[in-house]
């Protein structure tokens, strides 16, 4: 049996919007095993992003328990969470979220700064990662000088900077045309197959979710359907 890497048990998240309380997650249960490629699907407002924020340690639940590699992380402080994020989790966002004043190389090096790696090692690794996403000739370009697909590949390289166990992709192709989207998706698959990374991808595109091994359907803050993809 495969080892569980992230487990959400009866997770609730409640936002206060003025006087109204909104439950984004209502007792979500989800388990992700090491080396899995899981897609989370659902209509907007279903709590996909909230769920993925919890999985990525960007946010803490109002109620419930989240375990990452057997450690309860639902009660940790922001700084402790930041350390976990830095070491174990890589993010890929819909809007790429690169820092516009930094070059591709600097963007990829950024997560390593916070882990205290020296400049020589950082540069070496960042160049390797950029070559992996086929951007070896673009390392000194700023995000504005890169196409959308190229920017997202820089973001993939950045997500891999600290060699995380889990890569979280929140609508990674949402801002890309279908051709570059497929290209980005190929990289994610390559990561999954060759590097054996655990990947959690949020999407609303049924075509994209086919590359995943398992698809979880979310509605009103709970899983309503779970589907194993045939291979």
């Amino acid at each position: 049996m495969k080892r569980s890497i992230i487990k959400l048990e009866n997770v609730w998240k409640t936002y206060k919007m003025g006087d109204v309380e909104v439950n984004a997650l209502q007792g979500l249960n989800l388990n992700i095993n090491e080396g899995e490629f899981v897609a989370i699907m659902g209509p907007s407002g279903s709590g996909k992003s909230t769920a993925v924020n919890m999985i990525g340690c960007l946010d803490v639940p109002t109620k419930g328990k989240i375990t990452l590699e057997q450690h309860d992380i639902s009660k940790l402080s922001e700084s402790e969470l930041a350390q976990i994020r830095g070491r174990k989790i890589g993010f890929i966002f819909q809007q790429f979220n690169l820092i516009p004043t930094m070059t591709a190389l600097e963007n990829v090096m950024l997560p390593m700064i916070f882990q205290g790696l020296n400049e020589e090692k950082r540069t070496e690794r960042a160049i390797k990662l950029l070559e992996l996403v086929e951007l070896g000739d673009r390392i000194n370009h700023k995000p504005t000088e890169l196409s959308g697909g190229q920017q997202q590949r820089v973001a993939i390289a950045r997500a891999l900077a600290n060699n995380p166990e889990v890569v979280i992709a929140d609508e990674p192709t949402g801002n890309l045309d279908s051709k570059t989207g497929t290209n980005v998706l190929d990289f994610l698959q390559k990561l999954h197959k060759k590097e054996n990374k655990t990947i959690v991808m949020v999407t609303h595109d049924a075509n994209l979710s086919r590359v995943a091994e398992r698809i979880e359907f979310l509605k009103d803050g709970i899983i309503v359907k779970s589907l194993d993809n045939e291979r």
């Binding site: 990525g56 930041a82 994020r85 690169l98 916070f114």
Partner: protein, 410 residues
């Protein structure tokens, strides 16, 4: 790690160049003013200290009591009530070695058809007095000689008098004729430049001749210089002279109509006045630093809002609160530090300019810019602190942003 944050900070400041410059202007005006004022004040103290050091610490000056002490040369500021009788009284005080008296009077000077009003001072006709006055005033000639026995219508003059500082049209050369209150004197000596405007503009003539020309009573004198014996405490002798003169004049304590000063006393008084003036001026300049600090805080708050998303990104890739705090504090500290460095350079330039202008137009070398290492180091440190403290609150705000909220910010 700090090195990396420094790089990030510098690149961010470069990225908003105009705003960084505008912010720094606030700091560098303040630092320039503070550095300039302190440097000139310290320089002035040093220069004045040197002037008094030249007089020598074994001298005492006696003159009539006056309200305005430094408006003119000693003894010139009020009608004197000192007489040759006082010289005899002082001479009898224990510890006194030599006594010399002189007159200092406003006169009309005429040369090459230019007429000016300045002070003339007398040189005693006796050997002892001449030696003492020469010593007290440090008279040294650049050309010619000082006065000697049996000189009558001869004079030696301050450096500025000879070199167009007083008579603008023509230099005075040795052997030229200078008219003092319509009487012709031959210039026999020109003094070296001292930097003290009073001394550089004075005209010195034999005592008897000055009395004749100005029709001054044989007994009157304006200022008495005393040299004390070796190994004797100059302040004790000064006290004894005061007592002796009070007894002689039958005056109560505190009602003296004369004044006795040792160089140290004069120096201490001057030093106090200068310190107070300096504190007030530097205090005013410090207000501009405060405003500069608020400018930095304002810029940093704007930067936090502008870079909310960036902060979210950094947090999502593993930046802890303390990392974000440090990045922003380093940035604001840099604003302060660079502003301070420019301010120091500006302040040095400014005070050098004032020094030059004072020398050129006022003829005084009393205003000297003085830059001790601790002034420069202190100003740098202070400007860095102003930057850091101003950035503290904005940095705190940045670091406490929640990553999910910050990422969602557009």
């Amino acid at each position: 790690m700090i090195k990396d944050y420094l790089k990030v900070g510098i690149s961010n400041l470069f990225h908003r160049k105009l705003r960084s410059w505008l912010t720094m202007i606030g700091i560098f005006i303040g630092i320039a003013a503070v550095v300039g004022l302190i440097s000139l004040g310290q320089g002035m103290k040093e220069a004045i200290g040197n002037v008094f050091l030249n007089i020598g610490s074994d001298k005492i000056i006696v003159q009539a009591k006056s309200g305005l002490q430094f408006a003119g040369p000693p003894g010139s500021s009020s009608a004197s009530n000192l007489t040759t009788h006082d010289i005899d009284v002082i001479r009898r005080v224990k510890g006194v070695e030599e006594v010399g008296a002189r007159l200092i009077k406003p006169v009309k000077l005429e040369f090459n058809n230019e007429v000016k009003f300045y002070f003339a001072a007398s040189m005693p006709d006796d050997e002892e007095g001449r030696r003492l006055i020469t010593e007290v005033n440090r008279y040294e000639t650049e050309a010619g000689r000082l006065l000697k026995k049996n000189d009558k219508l001869k004079t030696f003059i301050g450096n500025n008098v000879a070199n167009k500082g007083v008579f603008k049209k023509k230099k005075i050369e040795l052997g030229n004729t200078l008219k003092i209150n319509e009487v012709e004197f031959e210039v026999v000596g020109i003094l070296k430049k001292t930097g003290n405007p009073q001394q550089d503009r004075i005209v010195i003539v034999p005592e008897d001749t000055l009395r004749e020309v100005l029709k001054i009573n044989k007994k009157k004198v304006d200022v008495i210089a005393v040299k004390v014996q070796k190994g004797v405490d100059v302040n004790n002798v000064a006290n004894d002279i005061e007592k002796a003169m009070r007894r002689d004049r039958d005056l109560e304590l505190g009602k003296e109509d004369f004044e006795i000063q040792t160089p140290q006393q004069i120096l201490a008084t001057l030093d106090n006045i200068l310190t107070i003036v300096q504190i007030v001026l530097v205090g005013i300049a410090a207000i501009s630093l405060l405003v500069g600090g608020i400018g930095i805080a304002n810029t940093m708050y704007t930067a936090v809002i502008e870079r909310t998303k960036e902060i979210g990104i950094m947090k999502s890739v593993g930046a802890q609160n303390k990392d974000i705090l440090l990045i922003f504090i380093i940035e604001s500290g840099l604003l302060g530090l660079v502003g301070g460095a420019i301010g120091i350079a500006l302040g040095i330039g400014l005070s050098k300019l004032v020094e030059f202008a004072a020398f050129k137009f006022l003829g005084t070398s009393l205003i000297k810019a003085f830059f001790p290492w601790y002034l420069i180091a202190g100003a740098l440190l202070f400007s860095f602190l102003v930057g850091t403290i101003s950035g503290l609150l904005p940095a705190k705000q940045a670091s406490s942003l929640k990553p999910v909220d910050a990422l969602r910010y557009e």
